[in-house]
Symmetry: D2
Subunit: 284 residues, 4 copies
């Protein structure tokens, strides 16, 4: 039986903490009790932090507003790094003009576009039209905001005629909606399409290391400390822990989300994904 | 370069022919020219036949009506074997009471039910109700007839609380809708759900050999001839040809559907799926 | 908690039993206690049986000899159906001349060859020679009898120059060698090669239904009874039980092999593979 | 038909070039004609470069010696970044004591070890010994240097009793050995084991972005320029090009290796992996 550690005690050994969001700061019931107090302690100790989330539906400003609504009074927008930010960056760096077809909400599309690239819902594409040539990329942003059947079929047919980069801005397969139910996330829809069209999509988000590296550059632009000084904290072995292990930073599993206390040992052994620490919660 | 054979000449060496439907007798433009004449020749030669289709949306009677509408005047219901028939059989043999949740049209559901088992669309399930316990199986029948988002999410959540057999009555990933466009078929939706819930579904339809065996029993109940006397004819290497090869019967690829003449050689080599014959069409 | 049934009582309701071999009649320690007595009871009740095994290393006669050596005094060769028999049949029906390259023991190769087709170990192939054109098929038979590195590399290179059918005569990924250790089986080697060359191989063995159908034809050639009269008994959910469920016969899981008593419920739920009965052993 | 560009002309627009090694600087015949001249031109223009390779069998010093032997007179060790360097780093950062079991040559093992961690070939493990507890990680380094059957079976059994991180230091599935033949690489062996044991391994090497990021830090530690100033040049769409696209730098496909001129267009379209430029070779 592995030892359960106090998060507060462990955290003191690091200069920065990377946190997952859902299952660490909040769950379907609301906030994780004591989490804000922990953030205050970190601030007092001079420990910096970032919240990393596989979410491409919102800007950092919106994510910060959600946290404020939940009762976190002091988590500004620059504390968030999302897979949507990586998608936005990719579009800015690699595309210069034309339109981006998307599956998601209007809000998610407005975040990833820029002055050179506008966005169009994939279900509004006109297949009998020369305008199809102006589509320069396709992005999976969210599972909401579109008619699944029509949009998925349009996506498949678009990729048969246009050879364009396809970006999966949220690779999660599912997300929890309440204590009992889950919903299929846009990563699963993207996987369905990728399998059918047989092309290679570009996936952003944990467990892929790129989001960890993005957060590392974001929090530590002047390289005042190195990877040894950072701890990743998450509730999910297959995204938070394996990704951070590979990135080369220490990892702590918390038991307030996907990994329930009774199964933690078993899951660690079955999956072969080994956190450096196990903590009951970030308030422990 | 491989030899192109005359289908009529080859067929004479067999006592029965298994045909695929789409791409062999018909395509998006209507009937394949000359196909009915070929059927007449087979009848005159005393060669029996069966049409094998990965279709779980219709009864054999409905499939026969569709053929009549297309202009095939003499293809009765008992000439069809569909993956839906295997699903219907499974339900009859393995289930004794309760309800079957389904994704598909009402018509497809009415075909697979029987006097012991009724059917309910998965999107009408009430999750706050004891009635969920009466659900004894789940069936993927068709990509039409339901709201994708609601139904797929309901399906995932149903399978988290009920450990029941899941039947995929049409394993195709896509189907053609016109000369340019394809649509996502129910097999692809089933694959998405299977991956998310991590359970093993029961899949019926080509290339799996069970449908070939079903047709073999159907056409030759008294074992008057054996596998050497049967030829499978299809337009798709990965379903018709590989399945029939494995089942142990001879195979002929026709070039009136998925495999276009220019690419036949290349596809055979790339996929490693080798038909015994290649024919332009069943009218050749 | 599911009910544990007496195998002897259940068996009486059937006219024939299909048994898995390893984990049902024997394990690394030797015979399962009481198993021979059960066979005698079946004989007394007039219940027929077949032992189905994913084994392509031995002829039925050799399998019978192994059982005799273990102490089963009355299990003749015709009581065995192996995936090797399906491979042998495929070769007999679909190939007419030339050589079969193989990975396995000489003994396994001698079983699947016939007067028209001889066999050559894949590591003895001469790649600078016209003789390569005489190779008409490749078969994965066993994990023993060849130098893995040389043979696997030769196999990959053979399939790059020769477009021939590839038969996987044992699809198992692993097999137990003693109480603690397992070994990689030929199915896993075949999967490695299939992934690299990107071609479609022909796989025989449980859970695929073809071996169940072969046993059904073998035991019941005159159709004196039907699928409802047959019970499949096995220790492995992902091969024995799912395959027999799909084939349409009843299933009983025994707890003397891969599925240990403590985990049976959990495995059934996690995998979604549901046996009709659970029995401690075939002696219970 | 896409335009073929002059590499020399394109290169002038960048401050640094990332090159793949095999298929760009050399192939089975030796050096790509004119490649050294190109390196000289880059030096004259003040353009820096790095050679990125999925190779964990050699230290940078050895890679430099190989280049010297080929005739490249001025490519020092610090111009190489290999997936082996990432594995070495992971071991240094995440492991503190004990032994590393490995599959590979002694030379490859000596490169990744350090003063705290020694290495032991997986085939020399003693399973009846307490010493097994000192094994703290497993590394796939090379396809050479070990007995495949014994080592692969030992690896599977080790991972059943020890829950330790597993590092795949070369994710390639194959590599070319001469104009006709390929060999199975250690990435394919790792995939076989990963599938059997069902655990999550840690994979280093293209197309994963971590190696691109490592090279970026290596060549540009003081951030004098950014991603827009770097061009990746490679012969393989599925590793060099897709990885660099995702990393966010420009890409040029050369036709001196895996992607042959006749098939470049077709491969780009089929795979959906789109380089910014296509060049005949780095000498063009």
């Amino acid at each position: 039986m592995r030892q359960i550690d106090s998060f507060i005690e462990i955290a003191k050994n690091y200069k920065a903490i990377f946190f997952d969001s859902f299952g660490v700061f909040k769950n379907y019931d609301g906030v994780i009790p004591g989490a804000e107090k922990t953030l205050n302690k970190l601030r007092n100790e001079g420990i910096d932090y970032i919240i990393l989330t596989n979410d491409a539906s919102k800007s950092p400003e919106m994510l910060a507003k959600d946290y404020l609504k939940l009762g976190y009074t002091n988590v500004p927008a620059d504390k968030f790094v999302s897979s949507g930010m990586l998608a936005k960056d990719f579009i800015k760096n690699k595309l210069t003009s034309g339109k981006i077809a998307y599956l998601g909400t209007e809000q998610s599309a407005s975040y990833i576009t820029n002055h050179k690239m506008s966005a169009i819902p994939v279900e509004e594409l006109n297949f009998n039209n020369e305008a199809l040539n102006s589509i320069k990329a396709l992005v999976f942003l969210d599972d909401e905001g579109f008619h699944w059947k029509r949009s998925i079929n349009n996506t498949v047919n678009l990729l048969r005629v246009r050879n364009i980069p396809v970006i999966v801005a949220n690779t999660d397969l599912i997300y929890p909606v309440n204590e009992n139910d889950i919903a299929v996330a846009s990563g699963a829809i993207a996987d369905l399409v990728e399998k059918i069209v047989g092309k290679h999509f570009i996936h952003f988000g944990k467990p892929d290391v790129q989001i960890f590296n993005y957060a590392y550059e974001h929090i530590n632009p002047n390289r005042l400390y190195d990877k040894k000084d950072i701890l990743m904290v998450g509730d999910t072995l297959t995204t938070d822990i394996i990704g951070a292990n590979k990135f080369g930073i220490d990892t702590a599993l918390v038991l307030t989300g996907n990994t329930i206390p009774d199964q933690a040992e078993f899951m660690i052994k079955t999956l072969g994904i080994i956190p450096d620490y196990i903590c009951e919660s970030i308030s422990s």
